[in-house]
């Protein structure tokens, strides 16, 4: 059985309870953390699922490196590692990716959570994508 976003959120709570002493003074930070945990769960889940290969291969074409939509858990793990690195550099951007790509929130919703404009979130999303794309392409090359 697969998981919907709301049930996943619930599961995330349970896991989080195991990590001691986390305090969330406001919703945005909480959601960010939850989203990060959710990312982990999704990847775990993808790993345990009997996955049907639906693409998700990296392949090289004449125009350069093409990164297909990662749906396989290996791809997700690459992405996750890249995200973790991005989080070191600019946590805000990584969080947007967690919230948008993994949790399925819209720009509007994320903007609401963080009390910024939608445009701001969109820009953050673009920047994050740039970083990640670069990171992943670099990995393939090396």
């Amino acid at each position: 059985m697969s998981i919907g976003a709301t049930t996943l959120l619930h599961q995330a709570y349970i896991e989080m309870a195991g990590r001691d002493g986390v305090d969330f003074p406001d919703r945005a930070r909480f959601m960010g953390y939850a989203a990060r945990v959710m990312r982990g769960l999704i990847i775990d889940h993808a790993r345990s699922r009997s996955a049907q290969k639906r693409g998700g291969q990296f392949h090289i074409t004449s125009s350069g490196v093409v990164v297909e939509q990662p749906t396989d858990h290996l791809e997700l793990e690459h992405l996750s590692a890249a995200l973790d690195e991005l989080a070191e550099v600019d946590a805000c951007l990584a969080e947007v990716v967690d919230l948008k790509f993994f949790c399925g929130f819209t720009f509007a919703e994320i903007a609401g959570m963080r009390n910024v404009s939608e445009r701001t979130v969109q820009r953050q999303w673009e920047k994050a994508r740039i970083y990640l794309h670069r990171k992943l392409s670099t990995e393939i090359e090396n």
Binding site: S2, T6, V89, F102, C103, G104, I130, H133
Partner: protein
């Protein structure tokens, strides 16, 4: 190409922002310029922007979230089925076509995965059970609910018979069915709904998309009982319509008026929906004609505005096309729809549920009569009725909606009904919806955050969270904030969190000073007054706040309900300081005022009923109280709010009154009921110390001392933890009594020593509680053999109590008990005739209070004491009679096996010898 280092990224970040904010055409120029000024950084920036273009081409990360919605995959297994393809995505969740996974060739099914995540164990269990019950609802026109289940992670799903068909309105249009044929098809739908009603299931969500017609012309009603499943489980009740779909405040287009105003949902609700459906089939549009209406207008349209007559609804723009789809001409269509058919549908669409067809069957009968050209049973609207509807126009329905959801979750009684003048009606309705939207945010956050520790949430945590959010939400306007805080403060109060309640209501009050609306300010003042009084504050403040509130409250029938509510609060303020007479007067005032209101607010009536009963109880008029409680309980049931916090309060108070009347066995049942309602929230902590304490008292009366001791101890511990002074004081007194009955006099004295300073701190010295304290001390002295001191203290106790009663205060409840206790001491202290006098007086008082033909332990004890006193005086025949009466009372109140019964019977028997 290499990865960007952290420093590089930080440097380039702001410039990235700048470039990305520029429209594409202008970017090249910017980049060129930048590269000139800062070559190295500029080159990197250029690279990144180019990369951005590439990744956009590739649509990098633009696919659907791997873990998000629609994450199911063909071939996945759900229960005994395998998913084939996604059929649709509705508000409630996704629907998949599926087949049995074990290869058995059975028909295909539709599996609906519901979005609600049932967090608790009990929820899942109930869901599964309900599913199985509903699966038995078999009817040729009902899509069979085959099974329901919950995944391992708590995602509920329902397995339905798959219907390959069109919504009924589309089908009828496509087949160009005429009026008669449409009605005939509709009668099939009615038979389905009627069948369900016979099985006590209300659909609650009848609309065209839920009524499909297969290719063979067979109509099937879908989603039956799903609303019921959810309602049972999460107590959404009447607000399913507004909140199920993803939690945003919706246009409740297909909702019946009572679904919006929070009234009871009954079979009449389905009748309304069916009426609306038929209207749509015949007239081509919904009776509320909801194009381009704002949510507020729509709400008003549903609850207030009479729909246009069926025949008139067909005029206008597309009327020729409309007629064509019904295989007729515009003129002929209008003629067909006029008259009886209009009347029939009109009756189904009445705003007041009791004016509609009582059953779906009656509705069907009239339709059949129409088809056969026989006279129908429904009467057309009289002139008077139509004139009356203009009067009703000023009634604005309040969207209890999501606030009621928050309420039902946390057991709120319902919001204050607020009346507005005609001018402000629209703003008001809109504000309510805005508040509903703000509340939705609140609720979805509260719900989503509900279990950070993985355990089911506690109501109080919910409230803490809600409070925080309301304070932090900048989008909420002041008035809304005040109202929400008021509601939260109220709820803390019913949870016995009096300190918290005061704090929140104080905040609300301060905030309200800035609000322009006088009625909001007035209400806030009254709410605070109430809470302060309850928390034991004795100064002038509660009363003066109440007076302030009443002064500020605008006059006029629109504000009557608010004023009545304020009076209720004022009543409690008076009662808390011991002024019972004023308390009762205010409650009766409230009753009268609420009748002036042009609104019909069942919830307020219920509050008044409960408070009236309470006032009587406090005044010691237990007989009136029990009668009033019974009425209130019935009202509660009819509102479908049996299991809310209100019910806990009701049952508790009722049981208390019964116990006072000396009917502990009945009281025990009610206390258990009250406790089980509280425990339903899955947490022992939820049971109020007051209820525990009252239960302990009842157990003591029944002679189950060890149990009583346990509960009393729990009560005092919890009361202490919550800072609930009143409960703590009473609990300590009760523990003193229990210890004495067990024989542990030292422990008993210890309890009394603990409670005395608390009482002195909380209450005025004339309060009758000190009489009670003294008599307990007296009884302990008595047990130790110090008769002189015991008698002296008993006299003091009686004096205190009588003084309190004279001053118009409480204390008459306690008087018989005090007299009996003193009589017991007097007997031993050789004051036999005083004992007889006291016991006789006690028994007389009790008789006056009692309902004729009832029995009670108090009277049993009274007669017992009287019997002993008479015996000591040598008046044996009278004594025997007293003992017999005593025995009769004990037997009926406590049972034949009870020790007290047996000793009374024995005494009666011995004397005969």
């Amino acid at each position: 190409m290499s990865t960007i280092s952290r420093n590089q990224w930080q440097e380039i970040n702001p410039y990235l922002d700048e470039v990305l904010s520029l429209p594409e055409e202008e970017r090249a120029a910017y980049l060129a310029k930048f590269e000139q000024e800062r070559p190295e950084l500029g080159r990197l920036l250029k690279e990144l922007i180019e990369e951005h273009a590439v990744l956009n081409d590739e649509a990098f990360l633009c696919g659907q979230s791997p873990g998000g919605f629609g994450a199911f995959v063909p071939g996945e297994v759900a229960g005994a089925y395998r998913l084939i393809s996604l059929i649709g995505e509705g508000g409630m969740g996704t629907v998949w076509l599926a087949e049995r996974s074990d290869g058995r060739f059975e028909r295909k099914v539709a599996i609906k995965f519901l979005r609600l995540s049932l967090g608790t164990q009990t929820g899942s269990g109930r869901f599964k059970r309900e599913g199985r019950i509903l699966a038995q609802l078999a009817h040729p026109h009902i899509a069979e609910l085959i099974d329901a289940g919950v995944s391992g992670i708590g995602q509920p799903f329902i397995v339905l018979e798959h219907i390959d068909g069109q919504p009924i309105d589309a089908w009828c249009d496509e087949q160009r069915l005429d009026v008669g044929a449409r009605i005939a098809l509709f009668l099939d739908v009615l038979s389905a709904v009627s069948h369900a009603h016979a099985n006590l299931v209300v659909h609650r969500d009848i609309k065209p998309s839920n009524v499909l017609v297969r290719n063979d012309g067979c109509v099937k009603l879908l989603d039956f009982g799903i609303a019921k499943l959810l309602a049972e489980d999460s107590e959404l009740g009447s607000v399913t319509q507004l909140t199920m779909d993803g939690g945003s405040a919706l246009t409740p287009q297909y909702a019946a008026p009572e679904q919006i105003t929070g009234g009871a949902i009954t079979t009449a609700t389905d009748v309304y929906a069916l009426g609306a459906l038929l209207y749509q089939l015949l007239a081509g549009k919904h009776p509320t004609s909801s194009e381009a209406l704002s949510p507020a207008e729509l709400v008003k349209a549903i609850t207030d505005t009479e729909p246009p007559r069926l025949s008139e609804a067909t005029t206008g723009g597309s009327s020729t096309a409309l007629a064509e789809k019904r295989s007729t001409t515009q003129e002929r269509l209008r003629r067909e729809l006029r008259g009886d058919l209009e009347t029939v549908i009109g009756k189904a669409l009445k705003k007041n549920p009791s004016e509609r067809y009582a059953t779906v069957g009656a509705f069907a009968d009239d339709l059949r009569r129409f088809l056969k050209h026989e006279p129908i049973s429904a009467r057309p609207d009289s002139l008077l009725y139509r004139a009356g509807k203009f009067l009703r126009r000023n009634r604005t329905a309040v969207v209890l909606g999501t606030l009621a959801l928050l309420g039902t979750l946390a057991g709120l009684t319902g919001t204050l009904l607020q009346a507005r003048t005609a001018r402000k009606q629209r703003d008001f309705a809109f504000r309510q919806l805005a508040r509903a939207e703000a509340s939705n945010e609140l609720i979805s956050f509260v719900l989503s955050d509900a279990a950070p520790s993985g355990k089911p949430f506690k109501v109080n945590d919910l409230l803490h969270r809600a409070e925080r959010i309301v304070k932090e939400q900048s989008a909420v306007d002041e008035t809304t904030r005040v109202e929400l805080l008021d509601a939260i403060g109220e709820q803390y109060s019913t949870q016995d969190e009096t300190a918290k309640s005061v704090q929140v209501l104080e905040d609300a009050y301060q905030l309200s000073r800035r609000v322009p609306d006088a009625s909001v300010r007035a209400s806030a003042a009254c709410n605070l007054a109430n809470s302060l009084a309850r928390s034991g504050e004795n100064g002038q403040r509660p009363e003066s706040l109440f007076q302030e509130g009443m002064r500020e409250m605008p006059s006029g029938p629109e504000y009557a309900s608010l004023r009545a509510d304020c009076l209720l609060r004022g009543s409690e303020v008076a009662q808390e300081r011991g002024d019972i007479k004023t308390g009762i007067a205010r409650v009766l005032d409230a009753q009268q005022v609420s009748q002036e209101s042009i609104f019909h607010n069942k919830v307020l009536e219920l509050s008044i009923a409960i408070d009236t009963a309470s006032a009587y109880r406090v005044a010691g008029q237990n007989r009136e109280a029990t009668a009033a409680y019974q009425r209130a309980a019935e009202m509660l049931k009819s509102l479908g709010r049996e299991n809310t916090q209100n019910a806990v309060v009701l049952f508790n108070n009722w049981a208390y009154a019964l116990n006072q009347l000396g009917r502990p066995r009945e009281a025990e049942k009610l206390y258990q009921r009250a406790m089980s309602i509280s425990r339903d929230s899955d947490d022992d902590d939820a049971v109020s110390p007051m209820v525990l304490l009252n239960y302990a008292k009842t157990l003591r009366t029944l002679g189950r001392l060890q149990e009583a001791s346990g509960y009393a101890e729990q009560a005092s511990t919890r009361a202490k933890a919550k800072g609930f002074a009143l409960a703590l004081n009473q609990a300590l007194l009760e523990r003193a009594r229990i210890y004495r009955e067990i024989g542990e006099i030292d422990q008993s004295d210890a309890m009394l020593r603990e409670v005395e300073p608390l009482l002195r701190h909380d209450l005025p010295p004339t309060h009758y509680a000190f009489a009670v304290l003294e008599i307990e001390q007296a009884q302990n002295k008595f047990r130790r053999g110090d008769l002189k001191a015991a008698l002296r203290m008993a006299d003091d106790a009686l004096a205190t109590d009588e003084k309190s009663i004279k001053a118009g205060g409480q204390g008459s409840d306690a008087l018989p008990g005090l007299l009996i206790s003193r009589a017991t001491i007097e007997l031993k202290a050789d004051a036999g005739d005083r004992a007889v006098a006291d016991a006789s007086r006690a028994v007389r008082l009790l008789q006056e209070q009692a309902e004729p033909g009832t029995f009670s332990t108090q009277r049993g004890r009274g007669y017992m004491t009287l019997g002993n006193a008479l015996k000591a005086q040598g008046r044996l025949e009278e004594a025997r009679q007293a003992f017999q009466l005593s025995g009769a009372h004990f037997e009926n109140a406590l049972g034949a096996d009870h020790q007290e019964t047996r000793s009374a019977v024995q005494s009666a028997g011995l004397n005969a010898k």
